[in-house]
Symmetry: C2
Subunit: 83 residues, 2 copies
């Protein structure tokens, strides 16, 4: 079964986000004075083939745990849909 | 009005994604043989203050056009909600 996983990997709250801070600073210097905070994370789309949705869900969970997210400082969530 | 913008910045289709290719290769070497393709993009959460939603929408559009997305090779979309 061909499926697409949409995965969000974001920093856990409380973890400093230097990239987000840099973007917020750049936005401010471009004149966006209303910006209060910026958090940047990763968004991935993975096309995968799996026997069924349950197996696909397990595979994506393991992909996140083993490679896509540094679970010490990052958290992840994903959505699965048939391609 | 305090608002939160959720922004996705992704490569336009047809644009080579070396990062995605590297991730696909790493997943394959970890034993995820069912992975066909991986595309990686940016996901940002921006907390901003604006007089109203229309102004917030304009501001976020401009943020994407001027800084957050390289519109030659990337496309963006966003959702706005009251914080």
């Amino acid at each position: 079964m061909a499926m697409t996983a949409r995965i969000w990997v974001t920093l856990k709250s409380g973890v400093l986000d230097p990239q987000g801070k840099a973007i917020a600073g750049a936005l401010d210097s471009l004149g966006f004075s209303g910006v209060e905070d910026v958090r940047q994370g990763k968004y991935l789309e993975v096309k995968l083939d799996a026997p069924d949705e349950a197996q696909a869900r397990q595979d994506v969970e393991r992909m996140c745990e083993e490679l896509l997210a540094n679970t010490v400082i990052e958290t992840y969530r994903f959505e699965l849909e048939q391609a």
